[in-house]
């Protein structure tokens, strides 16, 4: 019979959550720096460009930048 160490599993879950959150923030940071770099180059900020989960873009932003989306 399997014996689950719930305390360990819970702790592991939180530890993995930390790793995930830190990596996610790093991802945002890369995005943020890229945007800064693009502005420096004189390009307009485009929140749609390079986004992976395109379907979650808020409606107003989607309309505004829809022309940049791949069809």
């Amino acid at each position: 019979m399997l014996n689950f160490d719930w305390e360990y599993i819970t702790a592991l879950f939180f530890a993995l959550a930390f790793v995930f959150v830190i990596l996610m923030t790093m991802g945002f940071y890369v995005n943020f720096k890229r945007d800064q770099w693009q502005r420096k180059k004189g390009r307009e900020f485009n929140p749609v460009h390079g986004r992976f989960f395109k379907r979650y873009i808020p409606g107003d932003l989607y309309k505004k930048y829809a022309k940049h989306l791949e069809v």
Binding site: E7, A11, F14, F18, T25, F28, Y29, F32, P58
Partner: protein, 449 residues
């Protein structure tokens, strides 16, 4: 007027000191986890206990301070209106490209019930119809005089300073164009100036827009982190930041401190001015009845962009006034230590401990210390939230949010703070990154009010 701000060379050394200490600490934590020994394990345990002890002391200070502040406010609110002086108040509203919200904001200000009031709108070189719309709206205000001034685009601090030059009032109130005040905000806040040592009064900020977990998490953060701690600090008169959307200043204090700092060195002019007032021995209080309702960023990108500016701005203000605060009596020292603890020590220590736990797990497979540390902090957070949301209802929702906050939001902002601090230490150029607001939530909010 003596300048108590730190010289550039002093700031350089301070930055270097912070950067080296933080980097060495983080490295030490990672190495301690990677090469565990009896000594390092005992040392880490001692650090964890020290950290948790400080967290408990901090929470106790917040609980006691907030309770005492509530008593103080109740006493102040019981005094009849006629026993208070009603000095003239000048409301300064700087705007830059605010055509979507300017009419609503001005209408909201003209609905303030305070009898002796003037409104000064400073258009900071907007490229849209802000100035025209403000002038048109001003004609609909027969009771309160509204002045609209135009200037070239020079930044918010410069606009506020220009407004200050035109202001007649003994008390100056600064508001943002994208926030709404409650009608009785000024009456109650002015009462705080009965104490001649009070130089500024900070208002409270509430978030108007709803509809996502991210916004709810921000609401929780404002409620517990910002408003709750601010109340406790108010009891001692050491509120470290008078927020941009709702702040009131004694004109004398503002002039003595030299107005708002303009230029590109500080991106949080509100925090910088607050610290400068504290270095000169003025008390800064809060007023529960002065509430600014504002729109919060509703996407991760926008939120982190805003926090980047806040983090670096507060840090710049702290560096500039660090020595001034240390040399200005117990209030200044308290604020300096509080800000260093909140903006530097907490992220470094927290991040360092996470690094330790993770590397320790990879070498030994043990997560015992991590569990203790994590659940202890979560317990304190649950207690703080329960007290902070008392009387607001929906306790289970707030508690669920506390949990999500502890797993995700808190550590996201912590990591972000550390990244912003490193950018500041490295002197990476930054620009004023204004949050784009559509003003929809604010318009709806005004319609319901």
């Amino acid at each position: 007027m003596t300048d108590l701000s730190a010289a550039p060379s002093e700031i350089k050394w301070l930055k270097l000191g912070f950067a080296v200490t933080a980097s060495v600490t983080l490295l030490a934590f990672a190495l301690a986890g990677a090469f565990p020994s009896e000594f390092s394990s005992q040392l880490i345990k001692a650090i964890i206990f020290f950290y948790l002890g400080m967290v408990v002391l901090r929470a106790l200070f917040f609980f006691t301070g907030t309770f005492l502040q509530r008593l103080e406010v109740l006493r102040l609110h019981r005094v009849p209106d006629q026993d208070f002086r009603r000095p003239m108040v000048s409301v300064i509203m700087p705007c830059y490209n605010e055509e979507k919200v300017i009419e609503h904001s001005l209408r909201n200000l003209t609905e303030l019930t305070y009898p002796s009031l003037e409104i000064i709108v400073v258009n900071d070189g907007s490229r849209d119809r802000t100035s025209m719309l403000a002038r048109a709206e001003a004609t609909y205000s027969p009771r309160i005089p509204v002045t609209v001034i135009d200037q070239e685009n020079k930044g918010k601090a410069s606009a506020l300073n220009l407004g200050l030059l035109h202001a007649q009032g003994e008390v100056i109130m600064c508001v943002d164009a994208d926030s709404r005040l409650n009608a009785g905000a000024v009456e109650m806040a002015v009462r705080q100036f009965q104490d001649p040592e009070v130089g500024a009064v900070a208002g409270f900020v509430e978030i108007v827009n709803q509809g996502s977990v991210l916004l709810l998490l921000q609401q929780l953060e404002y409620l517990v982190g910002l408003n709750f701690s601010r109340r406790a600090m108010s009891f001692l008169g050491v509120v470290p930041i008078v927020p941009g959307p709702a702040g009131m200043f004694r004109r004398k204090a503002l002039m003595e401190a030299g107005g708002f700092i303009s230029g590109k060195d500080v991106f949080a002019e509100d925090a910088e001015l607050s610290m400068r007032l504290l270095t000169r021995g003025w008390k800064i209080k809060t007023e529960d009845q002065m509430i600014a309702r504002t729109e919060a960023p509703d996407t991760h990108q926008a939120l982190l962009r805003q926090r980047y500016r806040w983090n670096r701005g507060t840090y710049q203000a702290l560096l500039l006034n660090f020595f001034g605060l240390l040399g200005s009596g117990w209030r200044g020292r308290w604020v300096a230590l509080h800000l260093v603890a909140e903006s530097v020590v907490t992220p470094v220590l927290n991040f360092g401990l996470i690094l330790y736990f993770l590397t320790f797990y990879f070498t030994t497979g043990s997560l015992e210390m991590f569990t203790m540390w994590y659940f202890y902090l979560l317990g304190i957070d649950i207690l703080t939230t329960t007290l902070a949301v008392h009387g607001k209802g929906m306790l289970p929702v707030w508690l669920a949010l506390t949990f999500i906050n502890k797993v995700y939001y808190f550590y996201m902002l912590l990591t972000w703070r550390l990244l912003s601090l490193y950018e500041e230490w490295l002197g990476v150029n930054m620009t004023w990154d204004k949050l784009t607001r559509e003003g929809t939530a604010l318009k709806e909010d005004s319609a319901h009010a």
